[in-house]
């Protein structure tokens, strides 16, 4: 079989990170990898180059407007959007992990290799509506992440979190597989859109098999976005993984699962007659549950990473509300929200690295007074927290604004009121971070300990934090440009909605 240039164009964005992922282990073969600085540098440089090449290629593709495809792999606007999204998150993660793993004293090449494999899987996952390819992508990005959570092997909690994540994730993946099999059996096609229309045409919408299939498939997605009640893994996994990996999981896993759901849900899961209506109702119900449980649990956390984990659960709730509204404008809002969410969360986790908080030293106590000691980082922290809380003029406000506007417009006023109340609750725990950073002086004990430690040196993490803050602020002031230029085009030209 010969591959045409256009097909290569669709494949290349996936091949570039995969190539990087294959090259890095070769360098890591050196037994001295942790000791020789130039090997570590070369590995990180390779990873960055692979990501940058993919990014450069995808932006180029975006500019030309081409939407190449290879068999079941459709590198359309939405997939390109997802690719750029994941690559930006990966680049930030790589930069932050250079600093973080040096602080931890555990710099290994396999981390980068796993990360790049995961990136490849994520791009595959968002670029298809074929069930088998979808499952391939899901596993390709999930399996490396299980390992990444436990990558720092000298920390016992790491293995614990990784094992928890792996066991629950494996169950979710098998549910996803089962759901797909049932839908394939009933609809007669591996392409979920075709299967859905066949099911609709035959009036099989209320068949228990279809219902079970659709529900199981949805469960697979909801597990990845950590919606309640499939969220229990999230706080444990985030807490035990290295900060940059936690940031990457919170952003990229959730992001690609939502983008893939964007491709599948409106045309397939929600379009299966009676079963589709139930799926929409289930999604609305779980969105409410996610908002309530996520926000209330976040209130009582004493560890910043666990708080951020519950916060990321609650953000899944807002994004699910966008699906409940179900208009193209709401989907655009979801994509815009994800872009800002990428910056907010990568920034928030990056701050932990930039402040040099290693291991378990991630409680609110450890943050006390740091905002005044590192004013630039403190300023960025204020931007991230206020944006996560949805306070204007930060970008996070506009994401919520678009979703709530569409909710109200489609008659879901009650859900919108619940949404704003949930975000009111969230303000409290985001302010908690700012209280610790600015309003509390460090305790004398902490001061004494801090003076014993070497000065924190995390220039790369600091740089990613600054970039993330700029993105969040850009989302607040030139929001229309970002929405029209990226999110809207991805929805219109990628999904073919509104045409």
């Amino acid at each position: 079989m010969s591959i045409t240039p256009s097909q290569w164009a669709a494949l290349l964005p996936l091949l570039l990170p995969a190539l990087g992922a294959c090259l890095i282990p070769l360098m890591a073969l050196d037994r001295d990898q942790a000791g020789a600085k130039w090997i570590r540098g070369a590995m990180y440089l390779t990873a960055l180059l692979a990501v940058a090449a993919g990014f450069w290629y995808l932006t180029d593709l975006w500019m030309t407007g081409a939407q190449p495809s290879f068999e079941q792999l459709h590198m359309d606007r939405l997939a390109q959007f997802a690719g750029i999204f994941v690559l930006v998150a990966a680049a930030m993660t790589i930069l932050q992990s250079w600093d973080h793993f040096h602080q931890e004293g555990w710099v290994k090449g396999e981390t980068l290799s796993l990360l790049l494999f995961s990136v490849t899987g994520m791009m595959l996952f968002t670029a298809t509506s074929n069930f088998l390819v979808l499952f391939l992508g899901l596993e390709l990005f999930s399996l490396p992440l299980y390992a990444l959570v436990a990558t720092v092997r000298n920390r016992a909690e790491g293995s614990e979190g990784g094992m928890k994540y792996f066991l629950t994730g494996a169950v979710a993946s098998s549910c996803f597989l089962m759901g797909g099999v049932l839908l394939y059996g009933m609809g007669g096609s591996l392409d979920l859109t075709v299967a859905a229309s066949a099911i609709r045409a035959q009036g099989l919408g209320s068949d228990p098999m279809v219902l079970a299939g659709a529900a199981l498939l949805l469960l697979g997605f909801l597990f990845k976005v950590s919606a309640v009640p499939f969220h229990q893994w999230t706080p444990d996994a985030y807490e035990s993984s290295p900060h940059p990996i936690a940031g990457f999981m919170s952003v990229a896993t959730k992001g690609v699962a939502f983008i893939a759901l964007l491709r599948i849900f409106p045309v397939s899961l929600a379009a299966m007659g009676a079963a589709g209506i139930r799926m929409q109702a289930a999604l609305a119900f779980l969105a409410v549950l996610t908002l309530v449980v996520g926000n209330l649990s976040a209130l009582v956390q004493t560890n910043v990473k666990r708080m951020l984990a519950y916060s990321s659960i609650s953000h899944a709730g807002y994004l699910m509300l966008g699906f409940v509204a179900g208009t193209p404008a709401a989907y655009t809002g979801v994509l815009f929200y994800l872009v800002i969410y990428l910056a907010m969360n990568m920034g928030a986790f990056g701050l932990l690295t930039a402040f040099g908080l290693v291991g378990d030293r991630t409680t609110f106590e450890d943050l006390r007074g740091l905002g005044w000691k590192r004013p630039a980082m403190g300023f960025c922290a204020a931007v991230f927290m206020l944006s996560l809380a949805g306070i204007p003029p930060m970008g996070g406000f506009y994401g919520k604004y678009m979703i709530f506007k569409e909710l109200v417009g489609t008659g879901h006023v009650g859900l919108a009121i619940l949404g704003v109340l949930a975000s009111l609750v969230s303000v409290y725990y985001y302010l908690h971070v700012l209280v610790a950073l600015f309003l509390q002086a460090p305790s004398a004990e902490a001061e004494r300990l801090a003076s014993d430690r070497p000065a924190v040196h995390a220039p790369l993490a600091g740089a990613t934090v600054l970039v993330a803050a700029v993105i969040v602020l850009a989302g607040g002031f030139v929001q229309a440009f970002l929405v029209d230029g990226f999110a809207h085009r991805a929805i219109v030209e990628g999904l073919g909605l509104l045409r």
């Binding site: 404008a329 206020l386 003029p393 406000f397 506007k405 704003v420 309003l439 229309a480």
Partner: protein, 534 residues
Amino acid sequence: MTWLNSHPLTFLVFAPALLGLLLMALPQSVAKLTRLLGLLAALAVFVLSLAWLLGRPPEAGTFLTEHAPWFTLVGLPVDYALAVDGLNLWLVILTTFLVPLTMLGTWNSLKDRMGTFAALFLLLETGMLGALVAQDLFLFYLFWEAMLIPMYFMIGVWGGDERRYAANKFFLYTLSGSLLWLVALLYLAGKAGSFAPAVMAQAATALPFAVQCWLFIAFAVAFAIKVPLFPLHTWLPDAHVQAPTAGSVILAGVLLKLGGYGFIRFAIPMFPQAAMHYAKPLALLSVIAIIYGALVAMVQRDIKKLVAYSSVSHMGFVMLGLASMTVIGTQGAILQMLNHGISTGALFLLVGMLYDRAHTRMIADFGGVAVKMPIFTTFFLIVTLSSIGLPLTNGFVGEFWILNGTFLSGFGWGRAYAIIATLGVVLGAVYMLWMVKRVFWGPENKDEDSGTQHLHTDLNAREIAVMLPIVVLILWMGIHPKTFVAASEAPVTALLKDVGAPAIRPLTLPDAPAGPAAEATPEGPAPASHEVHP
């Protein structure tokens, strides 16, 4: 310069924030220089606002205006619409006036991070000015919320012992109202397809009356929290007492005004029928706020807390004037907002000056301060008299117009409420004068640890320079209030015509000797009507 000529309001609104951000980037080691730059910036904004707003005659009732499409999201266009007209002219000037004055008045109050404080102050000024001049509800909402951020840090970082609690309470309380209001806003904007108040008001009239009422309630609650109207006032004492002096002054001087302004600018004109429908409950809550605020103020032991509760009482008058739906009552409310900004702002400044010297604010710690600080006592007494509404001071005119408007309003409850509210004026005199008596008069408190024994210096030249303009304004507004309400008369009249408020019921005295009702308002309606309708 051409850009400046066509965008004076943009410059006025955003120059403080840009300078504030620049100042924030300066290192702590030059904090004193930063503080000076902040003051100069605020002064420049004040001078420019005077020159641009009062220096040229208004065109069709509008002093300055800017309008441009900003962006369109989810099918809703948002306009960058700013304007200064009769309704907000003096509030804008009050804001630009109070900011530099407060900076100067609290020059040495803060010991650390004063540069950052000055920067936040300028950011806050942008939020306040933006909310005052925004003519698009989305834009208004942005400024309204953004304003909370600098205030949160001002209370939380530089406040008293309970500052974290007070700051969080302030932030969450205010936000709770505005988030629900946002849903109402989105609902109505979706119906209207625009955030322009006129278009949204048009769309509102097409909705069922019950929906209009819900929308009005959502608007009213958001604004009432800011005012704050009883029973939504509970954040205010905490925030006021814990905030540093400068924060209290701006909170009382400008932030509370935005609530009242929101009613005049948006809630009442957009939902006239619903506003009429809820005039009585609003008036009732206002009357409760007046009496309750005064009674609670009376029993306070902390001077600052006393002033904070007096704010509840005074802002109750503002809301009563608005609820009366009469021209004179609304004009009185607008004037009372300015009065309260000046008088209560000044009271907080004076309390701050006392605290800086004595490090206590407890009334019991003082006594005989008049002997130690005669100049300070003079100023404090003038401001107190203005606060309790002595004729010839600003407080009298505002409260009188409000009571007059309420008494004359066509509503059945008008007279009874006016009479009860008048009691609030009496109570106001009681708590203020009683406090003055205990703090300033009487024998000198000889206790070693008392506040009086820590008062070594009277006001210095800087503090006198801060207080003098306030005294001038207090007298000016008391003697010639027309300066400050002339601009708002036409818009207020037009607004109330749209609302369709019942015509005023002039009081015709029976031939018999004056009854108790006439005694309750001994001044009679006539002179004030002349002032408002020249």
